[in-house]
């Protein structure tokens, strides 16, 4: 086994674990992105989960075997292809297993209930930490913009796409996107639990998701500001690798939140003792609106911009909602603008 094998073994094992845990993340009543009856969950559903996991781990074992058994005999180029094939193959097996189980679970799906229930207690839709805290990244970029403007004659020439104005534009777009996502997630997500402790748990789960987005905006603003200020020698900013002391805790915090979300499952439902969990079944979205194995949600008649994911934990956009496309547009703009800018400026 070579030293390059270790990260690959980790990646393959991580993918295996992730696919293994995926059915566990869903809310009660949802199995492989389908709303199924209780009898199925406790009966044939269990067998389906076992078979799905057997396929997932067979794929992972095969990929691990390829990495462990064949590395030394090949030249580096062939070895690279083999490793890539092992990781990609493992992913393909996992996805195929999911789609296989998805089709089987859908055959047992219950009809979508036309009964909707909502609480008449207003909920807190403010941003975690308040609007002032969430504006932090904007202020950070604003100060950077002022410094760039006042030192524009000292900006080294020929920086092209990595120059301060272009970087600033990139930062502004990404911060705007993260904050727009945070605000819309806070306000335009459906509350599924209506009674008991589940209400507070679900709200905490949502606020943590929103908080992650605000922190991501801070991360982008910090990295962009540092890169810009370091490129202007007259400012004397030399943070260098010390930026890791700021970015790393943010990443670790986000990782801790992600792990907590994996543990408590969708909407935080596992954070409540099984006996105290409400009788909510499903996630109040119709199965027919979920496309590509439960990956995308398309429902033009649903006013929610964000809905709980059916694969994994957290929220996904309702791509049938026009407001969601505004967010997608903001996200795509830098991806389209950056190459254009690159071409126009000639690199």
């Amino acid at each position: 086994m070579t030293s390059e094998s270790w990260p690959l073994l980790f990646i393959i094992a991580f993918h295996g674990l992730l696919f293994h845990a995926m059915p566990r993340f869903s809310r009660p009543g949802i199995l492989f992105a389908a709303t199924v009856p209780e009898a199925f969950v406790s009966g044939a559903g269990r067998t389906l989960v076992s078979r799905y996991r057997a396929i997932v781990w067979s794929g992972a074992a095969l990929a691990l075997g390829v990495v462990l058994l064949f590395p030394a005999a090949l030249d580096p180029e062939a070895q690279g292809f083999l490793y890539l094939g092992a990781v990609a193959g493992n992913l393909i097996v996992g996805i195929s297993a999911w789609l296989w189980a998805y089709r089987r679970a859908h055959a047992h799906a219950v009809a979508h209930s036309e009964i909707r229930v909502a609480s008449l207690v207003p909920r807190d839709t403010s941003l975690p930490g308040g609007a002032l805290f969430a504006s932090g990244p904007v202020f950070m970029l604003l100060i950077t913009a002022v410094l760039v403007a006042t030192h524009r004659d000292q900006i080294p020439e020929g920086m092209g796409i990595t120059g301060p104005p272009a970087l600033l534009a990139f930062g502004v777009f990404y911060v705007a996107m993260m904050l727009a996502m945070a605000v819309s997630m806070s306000r335009r997500t459906r509350q599924i639990a209506v009674e008991g402790m589940a209400v507070a748990v679900e709200q905490r789960f949502r606020r943590l998701n929103v908080f992650v987005l605000v922190l991501a905006a801070y991360g982008v603003a910090m990295m962009v500001s540092t890169a810009i200020l370091e490129s202007i020698p007259a400012l004397g900013v030399r943070l260098g690798e010390r930026i890791a002391f700021i970015v790393l805790p943010l990443m670790l915090f986000n990782l801790a939140i992600a792990l907590w979300m994996f543990r408590v499952g969708q909407g935080g439902h596992r954070a409540i003792a099984a006996s105290a969990r409400p009788e909510t079944w499903g996630d109040a979205t119709p199965d027919a609106a979920w496309k590509v194995g439960g990956l995308f949600y398309f429902n033009p008649s649903d006013p929610a911009i964000w809905v709980e994911k059916r694969i994994g934990v957290g929220y996904t956009l309702n791509i049938g909602n026009r407001s969601a496309w505004l967010l997608i547009g903001i996200a795509l703009l830098p991806m389209i603008a950056a190459p254009l800018l690159f071409l126009l400026k000639g690199g």
Binding site: I115, S119, R123, P303, A304
Partner: protein, 131 residues
């Protein structure tokens, strides 16, 4: 701790969703589960939770505001207000509702309930109990 008042609608019902919302809210108001000063969710929030168009909730809130139960707050939902003096009876509206009631009574008779049972059920409903 008292349970949070809920609103429930059936999108498969022939009764329009806004009427179902208004009817549920009115029941909570009459039975004093919603008291003067209580804040109701903003229109967008309730519409989102029920998965209906914003206008559906807006119409329901407007109906109850017209009946004197709610004061609508821009962007903040609605506040339950005190209805100190009994409102003057709207004769046309009362006639309309009595007409509906007579149809319902006929349907109940047709379904097998006696006039005495219907009368007892109506009395229970009028006193705020479940039928």
């Amino acid at each position: 701790m008292a349970a949070a008042p809920l609103v429930s609608i059936d999108l498969g019902s022939p009764t329009p969703a806004y009427r179902q919302i208004a009817s549920d809210l009115r029941r909570h108001l009459v039975e004093e589960r919603l008291k003067p000063g209580d804040l109701l969710p903003p229109i967008r929030q309730l519409a989102l939770d029920l998965g209906v168009h914003f206008n559906t909730v807006a119409i329901a809130y407007r109906m109850l505001a017209d009946e004197g139960w709610l004061e609508l707050k821009r962007r903040r939902g609605a506040v339950v207000i005190a209805r100190d003096a009994p409102r003057a009876m709207d004769r046309n509206r009362v006639d309309q509702l009595l007409q509906q009631l007579s149809h319902t009574a006929a349907e109940l008779r047709s379904a097998g309930m006696s006039a005495r049972q219907i009368s007892a059920a109506l009395q229970r409903i009028a006193q705020g109990a479940k039928p």
